[in-house]
């Protein structure tokens, strides 16, 4: 087959990139080789636009065992335990086939975890959809949620948290980010680096079919009117096989049979074999006749680029083949010795006794292109005077609008479709600030959250980047954990545009600043560019997945109000920032202006104060104040505790709207009972933490001084109305 310009173009390779290929390999690539380059050099595998900036993230401290660069990050959680976690996007496939796209997204991230030798113990998801009025939204939402549930539930891993958001900017580019978390022994982590020459290369899992050929390139291409044509590249997930693969791999990992292991994710066999060999600075030789195939007459090109799910590549210590084979066969999985490691530093593929590809591995990995793309600073928005515009709105009416809006509705319609209690270690289910899972057999736990704030990032990517890290940190603090590390999924538009690239650069800067200040390293992550259709990009959406440690679960905190007659305190200063708030969006339909400022000193100081109060058992319940402001946070605490509250605005420096709906950062609401209030406030004062006592808990009703008095059950109904109504389940 002659390699024409059209073919090169179809592989997403630019003319100058093709020239570079020829100079690197000193020959014209054949079609198989071109396909391999296309897979390895696209954005998804090469990170060619993002690499430069990802390097600037803080990725280390003394708890980090493995930072970015492996299948998942690993952190030390004491007593020989290690936590393994990562987040990944499956945006494009989910838009095309919501159920399978989302399901295989979960499957992929689970494999990233168990390849490291960890048993997955929790899943989280962050999903963004277009406006609820957009014709595709209902079907997409339904499909994505049942796909996430369908996969995770079947494998038997609890989903303990997540977020669901709606915004016009995702109308034609939904986001499906899935995070998985696993538990391993500190000294039994498995890596993907090949070692030793002449060691057997093993293929295990499902048979290879023609699924998702060029899926990775699709994930790196902007949608256009011809997307229909690209359609058959979606894969079907088989969670049952995943479960078997999980058990078989963990069984084999009990001894030292495995030298290296890597799942076949994006770009399948190509990226897994290239990455394993390159990391070990070795060569690899594969006989494609030994690949277990599902269809007849599959070509080398198809085998190398297929993205069939539920497959793994292993390098075994030679001599262990029989033992390994027994285990995989017991679980009913394919097992095939497909090649060996060599000292050639080349990828060599043989088929029907002929060499069909031979490429220097360096050309696919270290010599892959890296770009320093042009970028432009974001034009951050200024404040305009809005005072006149909102004062006439009644507080209760406004609040009701917020409560029934899709973004602020209670999300149990979503998370009840996820098994949250399998494994019997879920101590905090979805619905709180973080999900909490117990470390099996011990009295310690891990708090987990995923957060994003695209509105803030769109208005000011630097501030937004900072804010979202802080929000995740706050969610971890609020359940009584000690935040340890994060993973991040950076969802952006087309990086070839300087404006989008600017959003990316500034967001990373913000994330870096916050992570550095909070000693909250980034241990893994994923970048998803080209979330853009017909020139319209999504709002920049960095999703932060974060983990915290609760050393003693008896100190875990929840947000539900515990008793009547205790005090309610706002921790942190309320300045009344309303730009980018839910109040402005849902009530005034006003979307401009800057996001709230983040002061990292206050963030840390307030967070530490909450930790101290919790450690001294002075707090009944705690909740961070995020979108929606004090009133929404308080209502959520009351509804979940089935106990009301009576509050009074403590000062008149700002308007009541600003006080109740302002989205100033670094704040928490805490419930403290009479006998502890003195000690608690002394601690706050001593640590220079600003606080206000705004009222007391009471039976059944929420009462805001002079403004309204309403039954909790009414608020609760409003808050759970939207989803049921949308899906006609009333």
């Amino acid at each position: 087959m002659k390699i024409t310009n059209e073919i090169i173009n179809k592989h997403g390779i630019k003319p100058h990139e093709f020239k570079k290929i020829i100079s690197l390999i000193q020959k014209e690539p054949n079609i198989l080789e071109l396909g391999i380059f296309s897979a390895m050099w696209n954005e998804h595998c090469s990170y060619k636009s993002s690499k430069k900036y990802l390097r600037t993230l803080p990725t280390n401290n003394k708890k980090v065992i493995q930072g970015p660069g492996e299948n998942a990050g690993v952190i030390d959680i004491e007593d020989d335990d290690a936590l393994v976690f990562k987040i990944e996007s499956h945006n494009h496939p989910s838009y095309i086939e919501p159920y399978q796209g989302a399901a295989t997204g979960v499957g992929g991230i689970l494999r990233d975890i168990f390849t490291m030798g960890a048993r997955p113990i929790a899943i989280l998801n962050s999903i963004h959809f277009g406006s609820h009025k957009h014709i595709k939204t209902k079907n997409l939402l339904n499909g994505v949620v049942s796909g996430i549930g369908g996969y995770g539930n079947c494998v038997g891993i609890p989903t303990v948290g997540g977020e669901v958001k709606f915004d016009d900017s995702y109308n034609e580019n939904i986001l499906v980010n899935a995070m998985a978390v696993g538990l391993a022994k500190k000294n039994k982590i498995f890596y993907s680096k090949a070692q030793g020459i002449n060691q057997p290369v093993i293929y295990v899992g499902s048979k290879t079919g023609r699924d998702g050929i060029h899926g990775a390139s699709m994930a790196s291409a902007e949608f256009d009117d011809n997307t229909e044509e690209k359609k058959p590249t979606v894969q079907v997930g088989d969670p049952f096989t995943e479960k078997l693969l999980l058990e078989a791999c963990l069984e084999l990992m009990k001894d030292d049979s495995i030298i290296a292991i890597q799942d076949m994710g994006a770009a399948g066999l190509t990226s897994s074999s290239v990455e394993m060999a390159s990391k070990g600075d070795l060569g690899i030789e594969i006989n494609l006749n030994n690949i277990p195939c599902r269809e007849k007459n599959m070509t080398p090109y198809e085998m190398m680029l297929s993205e069939t799910q539920e497959r793994m590549l292993l390098i075994l210590n030679s001599g262990k083949e029989e033992k390994a084979k027994k285990i995989f066969n017991k679980w009913g999985l394919d097992f095939s010795i497909i090649g060996k490691t060599t000292n050639s530093r080349n990828l060599v593929l043989n088929f029907n006794d002929k060499e069909v590809a031979n490429l220097p591995l360096s050309s696919l990995s270290i010599n892959a292109p890296v770009y320093d793309r042009k970028w432009k600073k974001n034009e951050n928005q200024k404040k305009v005077n809005m005072q006149k515009n909102f004062k006439s709105f009644k507080i209760l009416d406004s609040f009701k609008k917020i409560l029934i809006s899709p973004n602020n509705s209670e999300k149990s319609w979503v998370w009840e479709q996820y098994d949250s209690t399998v494994m019997a270690d879920t101590v905090q289910k979805p619905g709180g600030d973080s999900g909490v899972v117990r470390i099996h057999g011990k009295n310690k736990g891990i708090a987990l959250t995923v957060d994003s704030s695209a509105h803030y990032c769109l208005a000011n990517p630097l501030m937004g980047g900072k804010q979202v890290v802080c929000e995740a940190w706050r969610n971890l603090i609020a359940v009584g954990s000690n935040p340890i590390a994060i993973t991040n999924c950076l969802n952006f538009g087309n990086p070839e545009k300087d404006k989008i690239m600017g959003q990316f650069v500034e967001t990373i800067d913000g994330i870096s600043q916050a992570c550095t200040y909070l000693d909250f390293p980034v241990v893994s992550g994923n970048v998803s560019f080209y979330n853009e259709t017909k020139n319209k990009a999504i709002a920049p959406t960095p999703t932060i997945g974060a983990a915290g440690l609760i050393k003693n679960l008896n100190y875990m905190m929840t947000k539900n109000i515990k008793e009547i007659g205790s005090h309610i305190l706002v921790i942190g200063k309320t300045l009344g920032h309303l730009y980018q708030s839910e109040f402005f969006r849902e009530v005034l339909f006003f979307k401009d202006g800057p996001p709230p400022e983040v002061n990292l000193f206050n963030e840390k100081n307030n967070g530490y104060a909450i930790q101290t109060l919790i450690a001294k058992k002075l707090v009944n319940s705690a909740h961070d104040i995020s979108s929606g402001g004090i009133l929404l946070a308080l209502t959520e605490m009351c509804i979940s505790g089935k106990i009301g509250a009576k509050i009074k605005i403590p000062n008149d420096n700002i308007s009541i709207h600003e006080y109740l709906f302002g989205e100033d950062q670094s704040r928490y609401l805490v419930e403290i009972n009479e006998k502890n209030i003195k000690e608690a406030t002394n601690i706050l004062k001593k640590n220079s933490v600003y606080y206000e006592i705004i009222g007391k808990t009471q039976k059944d009703k929420l009462n805001v001084d002079k403004e309204f008095d309403i039954k909790l059950s009414d608020l609760s109904k409003l808050n759970s109305f939207w989803f049921k109504n949308y899906f006609k389940e009333n």
Partner: protein
């Protein structure tokens, strides 16, 4: 009391139930579905999960496993069998319990805590529920809507073979408290001899006060203390 938990490909509550059995001092062994014989035991547990991915029909393919003949024989000899969630579905497909389990009324998976009432406590599984008016346990299933024709329903009611019904927090058996559309709010049933119990809720997931309760413990305590 000795037990055996059968592990099918795709079972995922096998460990959880083994942990519960151990906690309540029941000597347990795990048995792979491909075996043909059971170890000596008084109680067999078919755990929850997704045996064979729940492909085709839930529980159906597991009911064709090699070990099933031994399970049937165990029942014939009067041995105890507990099927939880997917285990209940397997018992139905095996014919050890009557009726069928259909998809949840709202056609979506449901994972949440529910309230239950124990209607028959005179059996090896439920003795300790005597102390509790309303029980709280989690459910997590897609196909838990128990369906039976009116004759069978009548028979179950008349012979006191309904072990659990869904109820509200106060113990009222009302349709609002029925999470999945089960006939007569049925959450679990016994066979005629009352040595087989199938139930959708997961007792093994709530055996510890640090979770959201420990109502599941009572089932394991009942089993531990039942005469063997």
């Amino acid at each position: 009391m000795k037990s055996a938990v059968i592990v099918f490909p795709g079972s995922n509550c096998d460990r959880d139930v083994a942990v519960a059995l151990e906690k309540f001092h029941i000597k347990n062994q795990m048995v792979w579905h491909n075996e043909t014989e059971l170890p000596k035991c008084d109680l067999i547990i078919l755990p929850g999960g997704f045996s064979y991915g729940d492909y085709l029909r839930t529980g159906c393919i597991a009911s064709k496993s090699r070990i099933i003949n031994a399970v049937i024989k165990h029942e014939k000899n009067g041995g105890l069998i507990l099927g939880i969630c997917n285990g209940f579905q397997i018992l139905i497909e095996t014919g050890l319990l009557p009726g069928v389990l259909l998809r949840n009324k709202k056609l979506r998976f449901l994972s949440k805590n529910v309230f239950l009432k124990a209607l028959n406590i005179n059996n090896h599984f439920c003795l300790y529920y005597k102390q509790k008016k309303v029980i709280e346990l989690p459910i997590a299933h897609n196909e838990g809507s128990y369906f039976a024709n009116s004759n069978l329903l009548q028979n179950l009611e008349d012979n006191n073979l309904i072990a659990f019904k869904y109820c509200d927090q106060k113990g009222n058996i009302i349709s609002d408290a029925n999470p999945n559309g089960s006939s007569n709010n049925i959450a679990g049933i016994l066979n005629n001899k009352k040595n087989v119990l199938g139930m959708m809720p997961h007792p093994e997931r709530l055996i510890d006060p640090i979770l959201s309760g420990e109502d599941g413990s009572l089932m394991f305590k009942s089993l531990f203390n039942s005469p063997t």
